[in-house]
Point group: C2
Chain length 205, copies 2
């Protein structure tokens, strides 16, 4: 298998972090430079179907995109440690929190960076008001996480899951525009520092 990656980009980093938690080191990594537009070349589009990263190329030629589809496939190959849930109910709770963290926290923060960071302006165009609106949305979600993390070490289960990985990689990406979680959210702050201290945090950086 080959993973087409792009260092520091938030969606590829989800997969790198996920693989590091699994201890997977048998996947060839191919670096694609998004800022140089390498994901928009005809060759890359022909491979990936769309100008998206990450891409997992299987040995039989099957191409997978979408970070969480790739992670779920890797979980089937390497079930332990479990990151998606052990039974239907736990799996549903993990997916619910993963999607909340993705749609209401990570994606808005990614858009805040794209709208707000000069180096990415060529992708989306800079728009400070749009960037602030996305940050505000993300911070509303963080208030939900603050309540969820009261007395808990992880977001969705008694161990790290995809929900934590999606949340922390989205939040880390927003450091590019000097964003930090509000200091009043003490449970979020404790959880965030614990996540950043994990060995897997270095993967893909």
């Amino acid at each position: 298998m080959k993973l087409y990656d792009s260092r520091r980009a938030p969606n590829p980093r989800r997969v790198r972090w996920f693989m590091a938690e699994k201890g997977m080191d048998d996947v060839e990594i191919v670096d694609v430079d998004i800022l140089q537009g390498e994901h928009r070349t005809p060759e890359f589009r022909r491979l990936a179907g769309m100008a998206q990263l990450p891409v997992l190329l299987l040995d039989d030629g099957t191409v997978l995109t979408e970070s969480l589809a790739i992670c779920r496939y890797l979980e089937a190959l390497h079930p332990e440690p479990n990151l998606f849930g052990r039974d239907p109910k736990e799996t549903a709770v993990v997916e619910m929190w993963t999607r909340r963290c993705e749609l209401h926290l990570a994606n808005p923060l990614m858009m805040a960076v794209r709208y707000g960071h000069p180096a990415l302006a060529k992708l989306e165009g800079t728009d400070e008001a749009a960037s602030a609106k996305q940050r505000d949305g993300a911070e509303r979600m963080l208030k939900h996480l603050e309540r969820q993390l009261e007395g808990r070490e992880f977001i969705a289960a008694d161990r790290i899951t995809t929900a934590d990985i999606v949340a922390v990689t989205g939040m880390d990406f927003a450091r590019m525009i000097k964003w930090r979680p509000p200091e009043t959210l003490v449970n979020v702050g404790r959880w965030y520092e614990a996540m950043r201290a994990r060995p897997a945090a270095a993967a893909g950086m």
Copy 2:
């Protein structure tokens, strides 16, 4: 189990369509009126954790939100007909297309309606330029689907899957702003009419 639903809303309709394909008729449906703000009352927020629909309330009191987390849980209870994939590779391909259809087609069309439809202006504020931008994004994704549907009956497998359900419910919702898929996309047009002719299309409407 109880499903908190809202008629015609696109995310609850995914679950209703999914249940209809499964032939599930043993779930109690509770209608919540989004336009009247019933999902924003303190009682509903206390139940759901967030002001979101659909919500599946399990018999043990567990609350699930996020339409696809709910569908995956229902698939575990009612495995046939299979709508998420039969093995890790097919499951990954189905999830990839489901996410592409969600993030690049259904979600932009939902935002196009929210920004573009007067009755929803109280939720988001009307903004015709923002609505058009979202429609343009959705139509770029439809060009990918046009190629994918060449010689195929369904988007991601040899049968209907969550990818088709997410795509068609998103596209149907945009009929509220009189949107239709461009007629030049003949494969998309054929697939769209076939999906709308399925008995499950009536569920939740």
